[in-house]
């Protein structure tokens, strides 16, 4: 991560004029760095123009550390979740976090966007401490780092289009038509476009299957074109075919939108399929973090017991 010579006024609000400017500045910056930082990686992202690898005048090249956990200590009362935990997340990668149930994998995701705060240590995003951020700074972060919750967490009282467009309605001055167009794009990206599913836009979440709800949650999280997507057990409770669909979706979004993904799961099939690197939570920290192939070759019994599902 390095400071850019030019100053960039934070994440571009998603209005068309600024999007075009941001796209131009992003392209220029990428060229200036010899395309070291991740440029717009697809037609979709180029058209939308959100900046990846740039935040508050700081840049981060693909493969460099984007989010860093530094000596994190977190506890709920007497229940210690993390003790001196360290973990790096690199720009553009998909990191899968595995570990036993109730050990605090989801806590890690919530620390990243300031939904929870650590008692000690720092969570750094572009070198800025998330734990020290005020409400406005957190809002800015949350527009760049979105989260897909375990059960989808769609708003029951809203239609699908309202759910998907929620963040845009809250934080941008986009009109209803623009928001609807963005919702259609996002739903299409997750395979739920109105062309294939007529009437879906006006349905309420309760009318959809669990798998579809998870995909709508995914569409909601990508509607704001984030830089990072956090997935909290995206395949839990789904049948194998839907698990496969979601896993392919995660890969596709990384490819088409160039997002960095952090996937919390204990479904090992999904973990191997989507991951570039795997981190295993064990005894309140991440003692095992490695590329997929290297991770699969780890001979430590703690890792083998977990990935092979041994109970001994």
């Amino acid at each position: 991560m390095s400071d850019a010579n030019h100053s960039t006024p934070g994440p571009a609000p998603l209005d068309p004029g600024r999007i075009a400017d941001a796209a131009r500045s992003q392209t220029a910056a990428a060229l200036a760095r010899g395309a070291a930082a991740l440029p717009s990686s697809s037609g979709v992202r180029r058209a939308l123009g959100t900046t990846i690898g740039e935040f508050h005048g700081k840049t981060c090249a693909r493969g460099e550390t984007l989010i860093q956990f530094e000596n994190i200590h977190k506890a709920f009362g007497d229940n210690v979740i993390y003790r001196d935990m360290n973990l790096d997340i690199r720009l553009g990668e998909t990191l899968t976090i595995i570990g036993g149930s109730g050990e605090g994998k989801s806590v890690c995701l919530k620390l990243m966007i300031g939904l929870l705060r650590a008692e000690a240590g720092r969570v750094l995003y572009y070198g800025e401490d998330v734990g020290e951020m005020n409400a406005e700074q957190l809002r800015e972060i949350r527009m760049r780092v979105s989260m897909v919750f375990q059960g989808g967490a769609l708003f029951d009282s809203m239609t699908i289009v309202q759910n998907v467009g929620y963040a845009l309605r809250e934080h941008t001055d986009m009109g209803d038509e623009e928001i609807e167009a963005r919702a259609v794009e996002s739903l299409t990206l997750v395979g739920l476009g109105p062309a294939d599913h007529p009437g879906i836009m006006e349905q309420i979440p309760a009318a959809l299957s669990v798998g579809m709800r998870k995909r709508v949650a995914l569409a909601r999280s990508i509607a704001q074109r984030p830089e990072v997507i956090l997935y909290d057990e995206p395949t839990t409770g789904l049948d194998p075919s839907n698990c496969n669909r979601i896993a392919r979706m995660i890969r596709k979004l990384q490819r088409e939108l160039g997002v960095t993904s952090i996937v919390v799961t204990h479904d090992m099939t999904t973990a191997w399929y989507v991951a570039d690197r795997v981190a295993m939570l064990y005894d309140k920290s991440f003692p095992f973090v490695d590329e997929v192939e290297a991770f699969r070759a780890i001979d430590d019994p703690r890792v083998r017991n977990f990935i092979e599902g041994r109970t001994g």
Partner: protein, 269 residues
Amino acid sequence: MSENPTLRGALRESIANLGETITSGVRWCGGMAVMLGQALRRGPRRPLGLFDISYQTLQLGIRSIPLATMMSLFVGMILAWQFGEALADFGAKNSIGYVTALSLVRELVPTLLAVTVGTKMATGMTAELGSMKVTEQIDAISALGADPIKKLVWPRLVAASIAMPLLVAWGNVIAMLGGMLISDTVFDVPAGYFYATYIDELEPMHYIMSQTKALVFGGLAGLVGCYQGFSTKFGTEAVGLSTTETVIAVSVSVLLADFALTTLFMPIG
């Protein structure tokens, strides 16, 4: 003299339990005060969320009209009947309007509606927000960069504070009609006379007292309902537990607030 160790242990345990109860009570009050402070600080910022406030006001107010009407009608009729019987023994049944007016407007209508309608509003909020909490929808609002206090608490707090005074005003009219009905049909005191004496007894301060109580009770119901919803733990059982606690919390808070407000207003009114 030898002390009984069992008695000493039981005493120690009782004191420990009492201390724990007091601590959790203080923590609960503190939590509500923090939420109220956050709502008052963040709520009035633009956008004001007028749509959400209007929607909640309509939801809370209109859905509560049937219950408020029934409660007010019956309390008006019962009070008029009770007073009528007592006054008839002294040959003073014509004073029925004078006597019922103050008790109904200053005390019974606002308090009874707060305990019933207010509790209904608060439990509705707790159940809704509690369900949102356990399904992570409140976290999702934060994760999408919005403020749950501003989006969920502020509209409900304002709506309850608007709806309750409106319902109490409506309830006062209905209670008077209930009293009028009993006065005319049971005690042969003409409805017109009952009305004249009823209105004659009331002064502007009595209406102010009634509406102030309604405002405070409405705000309390909204605050307790939202706080209980937000502090719901995990699982659907927790939603039920929070909702049950809300019933007790609203009832007790309303009675305590009523006592405080009556103490405040008595020297004036």
